[in-house]
Symmetry: D2
Subunit: 351 residues, 4 copies
């Protein structure tokens, strides 16, 4: 538990991820949202200018916040959550870090930068040590939250990798429309249809996964060495990315044991009892036709923060494991994971 509360800002607060940040920051025990930014509608009230499409309504306590520009000089906060588009993030995030803010970024711009830790809190919290080396450059700091698809894959893969080693991952994703933001995918493309391609996504999954699963050596992250073959598709689902995963392992796998390892899997957020940490990061479902996006995307003791896993079974060889994973792309895949990461920074004394 940190000794104090923190002022936080959300950059790009009107988008889908920004809306989820607002929802999850409402009533947060440590963080107080004091600033929201947008490149449009500066000067307007947040509650009036946001097209709220995630269900429910704008949290009343944030409705009157006035939108400002994404400019470090206009913002009074300790922590800045960035939901900026990539190009804007590339320019602005270092400016915020330079000015002393702790930047927790949901943008892709610096995820593969070797100075920047790319962290799933339950998987590689030790990578935060990279922040030591940032101190020379910036008064603040910059940490990156992975792509939604990567996080949802990394969580169930972690206990498997620890127990059996990973040689190769073949994954096909069925991703929700909300992953493309709003307006995002035209309805003419998703009625009676699926799209077997998402620009840039497969490379992100591969590179980010290898960095997250990598080892910290001599103050640097050495990427993991296994093969990743990803195919990313878009399906007519509102929220929740489903991933069909095949893993080749170093050692023979016992699927029943793998289920137990997943069920018992806990990480640093659970040890620290962080406010947004679910009791179990992985929820293993029994039904042979689960997980399903509509029924399971809100899995977990903190809704949407657990990855639901099902159909855990051996593949064609004894050194292979297959399963299906599902996570809420805007919660565990975006706003929730970034929030958990900020809580980790606070609890570990980085901010």
């Amino acid at each position: 538990m940190p000794a104090r509360t923190y002022k936080v800002a959300v950059l790009g607060a009107r988008g889908l991820v920004g809306q989820w940040f607002a929802r999850m920051l409402s009533g947060h025990p440590w963080f107080k949202l004091t600033a929201v930014t947008s490149h449009e509608a500066v000067g307007a009230k947040y509650g009036k200018s946001v097209k709220w499409v995630i269900g429910g309504s704008v949290p009343a306590e944030f409705a009157e916040l006035e939108l400002v520009e994404s400019d470090p000089k206009r913002i009074d906060a300790d922590i800045v959550f960035s939901a900026l588009p990539t190009e804007a993030a590339r320019k602005l995030e270092p400016e915020f870090a330079r000015e002393g803010f702790a930047v927790v970024s949901k943008a892709a711009a610096y995820r593969l930068d070797e100075r920047v830790p790319l962290v799933v809190p339950e998987v590689n919290p030790d990578h935060l040590q990279l922040l030591e080396a940032q101190r020379g450059s910036w008064d603040g700091l910059l940490v990156a939250d992975p792509n939604c698809t990567t996080t949802i894959l990394a969580l169930p893969l972690k206990p498997v990798a620890d127990a059996y080693g990973v040689r190769r991952v073949v994954v096909t994703t069925l991703q929700a429309a909300s992953g493309a933001g709003y307006p995002g995918v035209p309805s003419l493309d998703l009625i009676d249809n699926v799209i077997p391609y998402i620009a840039g996504e497969e490379e992100k999954v591969r590179d980010e996964l290898l960095k997250i699963m990598g080892s910290l050596r001599g103050g640097r992250v050495e990427w993991a060495h296994f093969e990743v073959a990803a195919t990313c598709t878009r399906v007519p689902v509102l929220d929740g990315h489903l991933e069909s995963v095949y893993v080749e392992t170093e050692k023979p796998v016992d699927p029943a044991e793998a289920v137990e390892l997943m069920r018992r899997f806990r990480g640093r957020p659970q040890e620290l009892k962080l406010p947004t940490a679910p009791e179990a990061p992985l929820v293993v479902l029994e039904g042979e036709d689960r997980p399903q996006p509509r029924l399971d995307r809100m899995a977990g003791s903190v809704p949407g923060m657990s990855v639901a896993v099902g159909r855990v079974r051996r593949g064609p060889s004894e050194r292979s494991l297959m399963f299906v994973a599902l996570g809420h792309n805007l919660v565990r895949g975006a706003a929730g994971s970034a929030l958990l990461l900020a809580e980790l920074l606070a609890a570990e004394g980085y901010v």
Copy 2:
């Protein structure tokens, strides 16, 4: 071109596959539909009793056909197309074969029976030699058409296997609702949802693929030996199964060459210019976001009879290839493929 025309019957003519049989037999140059069966509505006119859900309308020339029972004694035909449920097929298909009919079955009952050839006409027409051994048992014959998902996978896999050898196939399918028939999948399960499981489908894909890709030795089919890891899902699409395929090969793959091999791939139906044979069994698409079910399921010079392939690319190692395949599950995956198989039987003199 056969020397004569054939009378044909459709068993289970009121279902989705039966409806496609009727549509594709309308105006067929060799085959004349003379009998339709159903376990319900015996005595009714086909046109009145079928709930026609595939678009367009019942072919006028079949509307007045009277439904009869699936009983060999009630039917006058040379060839019988079976779209029966598995259990009915298990009982009835041998009866028809015994009574001298050539049975082309879309049912799963005998696909893995070692006496029964399981044939994709462009892939393993030589397996029809198994029919020689059937002559002892039956006056007629029984050939099986594979599961829709298997056929759509086997076609693009064939030229890859011929050129590079196959060691392992990892496939995730996104299958259309019509694959479950009518009424089939409840809409409550497919609005804002996908289902990551189809009962029995993954085993069918594996076993049938290995039999089809197997070799004829000493009058028997020796199954192929590669590994198959399949995950089958259901998505909110009317028609068209999409398959995300990862293949490990024996030899290094050149993806551009693989595209060329697919484009040039032809089989026995093309040599024989069978009426339902498309010019090219495989249509390789250029767009990086293709094939898509709504746009591409009717690909080919005979609509719905070609498999559309896209995103052909190398996997993480030089001995791997990835691609996406799409086929119309009720045409190339069912009625169309069975029809093509019957045409092959006729052209090769088996009937």
Copy 3:
């Protein structure tokens, strides 16, 4: 507030309405669910035998309840909620009433029976006086909850009728798939499609509306006399019936005043502060493109218990009003409305 708590049973507890009854009875301050029935799975635990498709999970406190037959002798309860199919309801509900149970029925069987009050608690609570006359026939009582579509229409119509009088209602509904239960509507009928017909629904809307809006005279309900022209359609939406309403009135309408009347509309449940009563039965939305099923079906201080109204505007003549209404068909349209009705019975001393 009643002086005591009540034991309640749910007949037909495994269906969609039964699932919502279980959810809404979980933690209820007055009612304790003690029995669940089903014509299948008798003897099984509720939690194991129900296919829970409404999201979330079976309330833990009910998971161990054992399913029994819908037989008055097998059930110990004060109030019985019936979610039975019509035919079963016709037979069983009077048996329960005869044996002394207070039956609150969601079934259509007795809605138009002149002995049975058909009640929307905010609209015609006075019709409960019909129960006096039931006392001769039964030890218990039988009250009916209207069809979902009727309730969602009657609520916004009530303040309009009170202020301006109603001469004619023309309504077209866009109804959710869940209104047909599970499995209900096949997905092949609702992908890229709508169905412009729901069997029996239009007659129910007309007849039930006229009875509900009718007057109690001499111990009988005299139906209202206005015209009702309904067209009911099914659309690819999970939950939430949308209704496009045109009303011709006796007096000239001021639309701004009509909005105010709707906003201020309160009924007996609000006076009595019943546990399931929303603060406002009608929520009038501002956005010109609202209400929308996904965004507004959970409107109200008790989620799903308010009807969301939008687009309130004058029609082509000064004696006409048009608006769009939306209600959750399984909450305000079914389980929630029946629950509210039972609370009214308790608070008014009928049980």
Copy 4:
């Protein structure tokens, strides 16, 4: 049959309506497409630069046409089909008319202009006489094709109006996503959802319908006088607008007779046997749950050119009629109707 063939151009050829123009002009017996325009991609080949989303592929004979600006000086054609956005149409269409082109406009800009005939060929071909008065202003001419929703309503209303007179129309529409063009409606707005509002649509339906049903008096169109109350909604359907119609008539209605009148309804295009005229403009369906968009939007002897009508029934009074109408919004509602109108101009000697 005209004495010659005509060169035609399509303004705004890359949009959805433009794509349907290209498809329907392919192989047209009278019209030869010689020019396509777009405000983007000028200089590119049509086949390469159009994102073809209507199924099938770009007609081969048009693929090599080079896109030019929408400038009368750049185009050699007799007839110009305008699928321009409203603002561009307002500026450009008179320029084309002035330069001698016959402009057939799908845009809304001049539909209500009193100099411009707004014509459904089967309903009010006599309104083309307004063109006489245009001769003073322009060397060419300008005629307008109505909004898709209006046309689909006007066709079945015409025989009803002729036989019984119309006092009032109350209509609720369920409109397809393609009516908003591409990209159009975001998928997040149409998964598990409908939208009860389409900007400007209800006014268009009312005003255009009254003009079309109006009478030519003294060289001007006197609008019809009946009341129109429209509510327009958007549903998750690709193509096909469904309209739920309630009509109050001057005289008592016999529904069976109304069905016959609809079935026998023919117009000037049928007399003239225009190439794009369906044998019957109205197809009355028997099934109580028809018409449905997916099954019936291609109704008619010229696919998509007939309006499918179903559920024809009396309303609550003897002077009322109710029915459901469905038309393909891009065919009979746009490109097809404009094409038919141009054929009428040619056959009647206006061009």
